[in-house]
């Protein structure tokens, strides 16, 4: 059984619309992360969280909000979607081991903004 799941797996949205990407983890990890993956850029961190109620900005937070209502769930919200946000989005969870959080990734969500 997959430990990190994402929904939806594919999404087509219109410019200016609101998009919510959801992530659920059963690893009981404290940390959760949202990345986007674009060719030539690798994985870039958008937001992350240390636990329920916590959200932190990553490297590219502009245009995105995050919500962590519980240990298991972490959402990424695009209030006003733009075509530049077309990408593949990955959620991950992790817990510090020797002080470093090894991360476990979900299957990804492909978002297209028209």
């Amino acid at each position: 059984e997959a430990a990190v799941t994402q929904s939806p797996r594919n999404k087509v949205a219109v410019t200016g619309g609101k998009v919510t990407l959801s992530c659920n983890q059963t690893n009981n990890h404290n940390n959760m992360y949202w990345y986007r993956q674009d060719t030539g850029h690798g994985l870039r961190l958008i937001h992350y969280s240390y636990g329920a109620g916590s959200t932190e900005k990553g490297d590219i937070p502009d245009g995105y909000k995050a919500s962590r209502p519980s240990q298991e769930n972490f959402s990424l919200i695009l209030e006003l979607a733009t075509p530049s946000q077309t990408s593949v989005y990955f959620c991950a969870s992790g817990d510090p081991d020797w002080g470093v959080a090894e991360q476990f990734f979900g299957p990804g969500t492909r978002l297209t903004v028209l």
Binding site: V4, H41, G42, F90, G94, P96, W98, V100, F105
Partner: protein, 113 residues
């Protein structure tokens, strides 16, 4: 972002040949280095990790040695297989926030028959 550099965007090899994928990093803190592998349409998965200077770490036939003197953590394999075709990411964790990983831009490895 700029903390991790992978110089090859695309590597194509014939099955059975050795491979080395380059990874260098910049940090003023004690580093933790990772290699992640992502097969087509799958999630990235951890392949190797290390924080020990000059010690070789191995997994699934791949190996890497962290060299702090040259700020490098190159990934190697002595004989690549068709199933090794994938996207490989090097990642760095550094202080003061070791909870965050910085990924390189990735190297796409294609192994041909």
């Amino acid at each position: 972002g700029d903390s991790v550099t992978q110089t090859e965007g695309l590597v194509t090899l014939t099955k059975g040949l050795p491979v080395m994928l380059n990874c260098t990093y910049q940090t003023t803190y004690s580093p933790f280095l990772f290699w992640y592998v992502q097969h087509l349409n799958e999630a990235p998965k951890l392949l190797l990790k290390s924080s020990t200077d000059n010690k070789r770490t191995e997994h699934q036939g791949f190996y890497a040695t962290l060299h702090k003197s040259s700020s490098s953590f190159h990934l190697q394999k002595s004989s690549v297989q068709l199933s090794d075709s994938a996207l490989y990411f090097c990642a760095l964790s550094e202080g003061p926030n070791y909870n965050v990983l910085y990924f390189g831009s990735g190297t796409k490895l294609t192994v041909e028959p």
